[in-house]
Amino acid sequence: MKIKYCDALVIGGGLAGLRSAVAAAKKGLSTTVLSLVPVKRSHSAAAQGGMQASLGNAKMSEGDNEDVHFADTVKGSDWGCDQEVARMFVTTAPKAIRELASWGVPWTRIKKGNHEAVINTKRTTIFEEDNKHGLINSRDFGGTKKWRTCYTSDATGHTMLFAVANESLKLNVNIEDRKEAIALIHENNRCYGAVVRDLITGEIAAYVAKGTLIATGGYGRIFEITTNAVICEGIGTAIALETGVAKLGNMEAVQFHPTPLFPSGILLTEGCRGDGGVLRDKDGHRFMPDYEPEKKDLASRDVVSRRMVEHMRKGKGVESPYGTHLWLDISILGREHIEKNLRDVQEICEYFAGIDPADEGRKGWAPVHPMQHYSMGGIRTKPTGESQTLNGLFSAGEAACWDMHGFNRLGGNSVSETVVAGMIVGNYFADYCIANQVDIKTEVIEKFVFEKEAYMKELVSKDSGEDVFRIKNRMKKIMQEHVGIFRDGNGLLSAVTELEQLYIKSQNVAVKNKQLSANPELEEAYRVPMMLKVALCVAKGALDRTESRGAHTREDYPKRDDENWLKRTLTSWKDGNTMPTVEYEPLDIMKMEIPPGFRGYGAKGNLIENPLSAKRQLEVDHIKEEMESKEKDRYEIQDALMPFELQEEYKKRNVRLGD
């Protein structure tokens, strides 16, 4: 049996994993990154539109700072987020973007003088002053008060991923691709690394480390139609769940993106609407202002997705052989803008829909439909990124629920989170690896490895049993039909019931191809039962949460219920069970910097208030008033409202133009 030792083990080679690895390598730790695919192919590469950071450089970003970014993020989360984490995030994001600039990310820069932009379908001139020339530019995105999304055309994730991957190579991080962690090695509530399968040779080895960090992204592929890459199957989340010790947070919080291309599911960035594109119905009518007069097409993603479905239910969708869809019109931005700032979007439209979105009028409209896009839930962690229940296990990025997104994530905040969490959590993780030793017996490690080796042999030895593809496709259908944008008790109950049956069936899969090496069917055979566990956590969490919050919309419980549901769902899985164990972790209103309130969308009364909200609001108002009268600055006021811990180098004040 092969055992490989390192100080810091990172599972997942996207932006969060690689940036965490850089943090560990910088502290002198021997660091290994495991990745299903060459790391530069990670799903982070698909992030198009940009990364939120309150630099406040551009004209339309003036006045932006951490406080504004924080308020947008908390409201965006529908008060489901951990406000301390959101504070850590907004404070570090400007540093992250400046660090990336120094690593060579060619951020689109501000050009002095007059510029044309399309705002609310009207051509508008924006003037940039001389002193801003050459600083990092930003574009508009949904749910934000300022233009805050920094970008490189519409290939932001790609340029960021390459810069961070190259930085890892520079620091001699040991990157091993086509390696899959299939179980965590743990004993006495401490994690010691992972059992790892080589996807080429099929060899199973133990990777033992002082600390382990999971950054494997989301679990969109449990749904039938998703913008996620085919590797986003939630296996990293599942191996944490399967320890029976680590817990998952808010798995029912699943985001649907308003404008993937229909029917292929390939994402067209929110930057399309951020730059001035609009949604239209079958009559060519721009319908979003009818529903959301204030934010229109740039309301939060959950809101726009729901309004689109609502509008299609009214018969306003466009019928096609694949089903009903709506149109995204970016032709009004003009060919020049599209060919410079939305080039990948143009290419995607050309290749996958046979249209040129720069063509004027209906000819250039792209068929779109909301689809699964982002997993707000994930491995539940403390603000340091460490699991509350399994020591030495850290998680960062979309795989984690350190919880800055709550029940709805703002566009541009996830790609930002990957790097920011990589910096913050990566540092805490590295410190843990420095402070702790590996003290586990080889026989314990062997037990984990032998178990998986036996499991693989068993899978290929069975002559008859279930077809894994059929089970997988059925799971995706169920999730699509009953655990989608609009949910209700009956649908969710039938989903949970059938998913459980499917999970039981998945224990009896027979693999037709008998090779232990490079065998895609075998990979499906061991992944699908794990995916079903993840799916059950999502569906059961959604069934039990009898309210509507952020992206979780219950038609039978349309109100946000702060009285009963201002709490985080925790799911865990006991060995041998066929259903997750669900428990809850309350959010403490009395510690919030922004107590729960009206989010600014839809009807105002659609909320069951918690009496503590008003109480805390009074307290907050009082503190603010008192501090202001003493002429304290915004940093001191913030500290008085909600102190938060953060590494010194990241807590440092961000300098902006005009400071």
């Binding site: 991957a165 090496s517 490079a518």
Partner: protein, 241 residues
């Protein structure tokens, strides 16, 4: 009427010691509207041949995983529509990369080695204070860097390169493009002499035979030939002049 496609795939599993030689396997499937090679191969795997190996990640033309030889040319399979191809489609793995199995090749190993060889990261002596305002960069310069930074390491240029086919250690257009990318990035302090040390030989900038295969096959339409020519002129002046 929907066509019946004949898809011929090169099969070979180097992991299997009993499999002595490569062979073609033929699959017949009904063409669907807007079918891509990605959709066709996925359907084949799920319904006809579960053991068929191939690579897709983003399936949107962004990540570069799925480059393969499609009727003789290196292309991204995810965005190649079957309707643009004849009824018979021949799929082979990319040449010059190590074969994993069937259509799956090990580009990661090669690309990481290439990145290390050209030291594909910013070389700077400056200490950056990340809480301070960033260094201003001319917008046109940032755009020019971005133009070259768009490479997705799919390997099409390497597979389409005559030089690489005869010269094992040739760094390929992907590597030379990386040099050009850092050369125009103001954050990077390296000069022509430094780049000469990295690629100033026959396996680097002077090995290119200008057959244009790289630029012809680049799915991102990078100006590879121009940039190679530019770097060659630049580096040719470094020594012996």
């Amino acid at each position: 009427m929907a066509r019946e496609l004949t898809i011929r795939v090169l099969r070979y599993n180097p992991q299997d010691k009993n499999e002595l030689r490569a062979y073609f396997q033929e699959y017949k499937i009904k063409e669907a509207d807007s079918m891509t090679i990605y959709l066709a191969l996925t359907q084949i795997r799920e319904t006809m041949d579960a053991g068929l190996s191939f690579d897709f990640v983003c399936r949107a033309g962004i990540c570069g995983s799925c480059a393969m030889m499609i009727n003789g040319r290196p292309r991204l399979a995810c965005r190649t529509l079957t309707k643009d191809l004849p009824q018979e489609i021949v799929l082979l793995p990319l040449p010059t990369f190590k074969l994993i199995k069937d259509l799956s090749v090990n580009t990661g190993e090669w690309m990481d080695a290439m990145s290390k060889r050209v030291e594909s990261w910013i070389h700077s002596s400056k200490e950056i204070d990340i809480s301070n305002i960033e260094e201003p960069i001319e917008p046109e310069v940032a755009d020019a860097v971005f133009e070259l930074d768009r490479c997705i390491e799919c390997g099409c240029c390497v597979a389409g390169c005559g030089t690489k086919l005869i010269k094992e250690d040739f760094v390929g257009a992907v590597g030379l493009n990386r040099i050009a990318r850092f050369e125009c990035d103001p954050h990077d302090e390296r000069d022509a002499e430094d780049y000469y040390e990295l690629v100033g030989d026959d396996n680097g900038i002077f090995g290119c035979m200008t057959l244009l295969g790289c630029e012809d096959t680049c799915p991102k339409h990078l100006p590879l030939q121009n940039k190679i020519a530019y770097m060659r002129r630049k580096l040719a002046t470094v020594k012996g002049s």
